[in-house]
Symmetry: C2
Subunit: 205 residues, 2 copies
Amino acid sequence: MNLRAPIHFYFDFSSPYSYIASEWVEAVAARHGRRVQWHAVLLGATFQAAELKPPMSYPIKRDYVLRDFERSARFAGLPYKQPECFPIATQNAARVFWWLDAQDPARAVAWAHAGLRAYFTRGVQLDDPVQLKALATESGIDAEAAEAAWQDPQWKERLKAVNEQAIASGVFGAPFFIVDGEPFWGNDRQAQIEQWLSAGPFKGL
Amino acid sequence: MNLRAPIHFYFDFSSPYSYIASEWVEAVAARHGRRVQWHAVLLGATFQAAELKPPMSYPIKRDYVLRDFERSARFAGLPYKQPECFPIATQNAARVFWWLDAQDPARAVAWAHAGLRAYFTRGVQLDDPVQLKALATESGIDAEAAEAAWQDPQWKERLKAVNEQAIASGVFGAPFFIVDGEPFWGNDRQAQIEQWLSAGPFKGL
């Protein structure tokens, strides 16, 4: 086990539990001398590969998860406002992430935070080019360059490749974490990840 | 809010996360001056009502959950051995639960523990009448009377009614908890339930 291996963190810009996890993953990693490698993915693609559907598509589950999104955010001490338009297409936000990542991973992480917070606390619709460009400007990113990036086949291909790699790694939802090869699915696996990082594999596993 | 209201705990004898939760729910309730009202249900019926399928039916998710069952049990400090035959039909075990519950709820809870532990640590197949009767005897229950109970239309009807009531209450999986009307789904909601019990609804909810 390489103690310096990063925590792989897979998220989708339209995933409430990804938003919550995005706010603690860096602190957890830092406490254990790790860094985080962020992966913007499209849940739609991973759901399709796994033949899964999002929880919102099940009427009975829908009411519960809408309640649980907000409750889980408050439990984590975070602001949360359920976006009226939900879920949304996030490929443009994700392509901007990968475009920034190629220049400077720290800027991509800052963009991830900006996008997740804007959508889940202010209802900024990341699927609307106008609102997405305004968010880029607000985040100190050249909005025209961002738009050119999300329309550029290079970043479309990059996102597609990232999704395929994620699916090949067993990712079927978000947030998803891989720590030293061990997969953890869900915001609610924080305590297990912490124990894994501090004590290694649980006895017998 | 009635502080003496019980924690409603819905479980299925074939649900690994129900087994894990069954081992902490009484302690959590006791810490907060509550009692637990146990409800043996059939996940198959709740899945069908919610148009859901069990995680094991999705190939990619299957590998993950098999790993997570065992990891989550070890994280909770519990023994766990993945049953080779999984999942299994649990209506007979559930009917015996409701038959005992009508006599003495404490005996029904003891049976729930016996069944969950037998299946998830020793692979005792609760869907096999011979093994189920042996488990009854081992648990100090008259095995012939238990068999008569699970074949009795009275307890078939009781289980059916309980399932319908659970579905009407919004239960769509197991373990499922309802605390003062607030629904919590999953073994991984333990911390939220504890906070809810100690501090009431999270600010703003």
